[in-house]
């Protein structure tokens, strides 16, 4: 187990663990473990205890996974391929077990809601503002012209310096900066990174547009406050997308340039690590300071609600997967987590997701052939 392995472990596992542990604290206050509740119930002592319990369970699970990972990777020794597989298995195992922990609390919450009957005491409503979309919800997609320009510059630069690129080009790096997979040099294979840059820029641009288009979710108990929070929430993530997207494209250009101007292989490990650390730390800070839908942003004090949000639990399968045939919305806020998800009842939403995932695999595959 060397330094690089530990570094990879730290940058990949720890942020995932921390975020998952604290998700119940980051959601909207009208939701608890995938079950909709009146806002004031969020501070109920029993719910507070459940959040704490969930964080403890997930925390203990994280420590166990790290311990197993360290133990096994010592046994495996220098076999880097096996270490890579181990890492994926560790993350996969953790995600499944933490989902089971979630399900336990989800069930408990559902039972509690059924017995307490909070929702029957107040009328349920849905509210929207007709002027919501006239406001500035995201930063302009024009910002993506900059990474797009970098990508095309990289393409041009690569073509102009084609002769200087070695006959074999690296496709994949191990944890220690050693190349583990090579491709023969050709006009197609040298274009893998630049084409991925264009793809990623378009992907970030798409996500940014999605942030603007996603369903307007206003809390009935406090509409003005929740709209204010929601606008800040969207703008902050939009800024994050623009900044991290541009940084990612810059990093790709750096890697591409090392084909023409060789650098210390250690730098090829360190730069991506610094980049991922920056990106994850940024996301965590944003998630904790903003909360889902902007729920953690302090604004003017809210009043105690006479009405509550409509109970749409029936459309949230297992509290996390939205399936509503009557809702034309494609994208909406996640229920248990920070960010957005799709309406699984809409084939178009599935198609978009599939196209994104498939092209991420197809582009390098076809260009490397």
């Amino acid at each position: 187990m060397d330094f690089y392995m530990i570094a990879i472990l730290l940058v990949t596992l720890i942020p995932v663990f921390i975020t998952l542990m604290f998700i119940p604290y980051l959601t909207r206050k009208t939701e608890s473990f995938g079950v909709s509740i009146p806002e004031e119930v969020f501070q109920h002592p029993e719910l507070k205890a459940m959040r704490k319990q969930y964080a403890t369970f997930t925390g203990v699970l994280s420590i166990i996974v790290i311990a197993i990972f360290l133990l096994l990777s010592n046994l495996l020794g220098e076999d880097l391929n096996a270490a890579g597989i181990l890492l994926s298995v560790a993350i996969g195992g953790f995600l499944i077990s933490s989902f089971l922990i979630y399900l336990f609390f989800h069930r408990k919450m559902k039972t509690m809601k059924a017995t307490e009957k909070w929702e029957q005491q107040k009328p349920q409503k849905v509210v929207i503002n007709t002027k919501f979309r006239d406001q500035k919800l995201i930063y302009s997609n024009g910002w993506f012209l900059f990474p797009l320009f970098i990508a095309f510059t990289t393409i041009l630069f690569t073509l102009l310096n084609y002769d200087r690129i070695p006959d074999r080009i690296p496709m994949q790096y191990g944890f220690d900066g050693e190349v583990t997979n090579w491709a023969d040099k050709s006009y197609r294979s040298v274009m893998i990174l630049p084409i991925l840059q264009v793809y990623l820029t378009l992907l970030f641009l798409f996500i940014n547009s999605m942030v603007a288009k996603a369903k307007q979710q206003v809390s009935v108990e406090n509409p003005d406050k929740s709209i204010q929070q929601n606008i800040i929430f969207r703008r902050r993530w939009s800024a994050y997308l623009i900044i991290s997207g541009t940084a990612l494209i810059l990093m790709f250009s750096f890697i591409q340039l090392t084909m023409i101007y060789p650098v210390d292989p250690q730098l090829l490990v360190i730069v991506p690590i610094i980049f991922s650390v920056g990106m994850t730390v940024g996301a965590i800070v944003l998630a904790f300071s903003t909360g889902q839908g902007g729920s953690r942003i302090k604004t003017t004090i809210g009043q105690k609600g006479e009405v509550i949000d409509r109970d749409d639990d029936q459309y949230w399968k297992l509290g996390q997967f939205y399936f509503n045939r009557n809702d034309p919305a494609l994208f909406l806020e996640k229920r248990f987590g920070v960010g957005w998800t799709i309406n699984l009842a809409r084939p178009l939403a599935w198609t978009i997701l599939l196209v994104i995932i498939l092209s991420a695999f197809a582009i390098p595959y076809f260009l490397a052939m």
């Binding site: 009328p123 503002n129 007709t130 919501f132 369903k215 509503n324 009557n326 034309p328 494609l330």
Partner: protein, 131 residues
């Protein structure tokens, strides 16, 4: 303007939607020429069927409250809402008739009934004065 819907109510959703837009115009929260969300966008935000929103919009259009343009989208009638004509007055009478009949049965006298009407009118007058 905020649109509130009660999805458990007996009143049809398209009626609620239509009534709220009309109330918004009466309270001057919606001015002539102001935009409204497109059918798709409003339905997605409210999480209701496209046809429901479409039905409300079509009725509002027929009654002269809104205009639906291919390019400009949905706007509050820029020429103002058409003033009451004989046909409207007849419809108004027909609508009020059963309501007054019920009030009579329930021993609400004319003064009481008119007092309720005045207070409702006041609701719209007030907002007019503020803006």
């Amino acid at each position: 303007m905020f649109i509130h819907l009660d999805l458990q109510s007996n009143e049809a959703i398209y009626t609620q939607l239509k009534n709220q837009v009309i109330a918004g115009i009466a309270k001057k929260e919606l001015q002539p020429g102001d935009g409204l969300p497109s059918v798709r966008s409003l339905a997605a935000d409210l999480g209701i069927n496209l046809h429901t929103v479409n039905k409300a919009y079509q009725q509002l259009k027929q009654e002269g409250f809104i205009q639906i343009h291919r390019q400009k989208g949905v706007v509050i009638n820029p020429e103002g809402i058409p003033e009451a004509d004989e046909t409207y007055k007849r419809t108004l009478e027909q609508t009020l008739h059963p309501i007054i009949a019920e009030s009579v049965c329930r021993k609400i006298n004319e003064d009481e009934f008119l007092a309720i009407c005045s207070s409702l009118f006041l609701e719209f007058e007030k907002t007019k004065g503020e803006k």
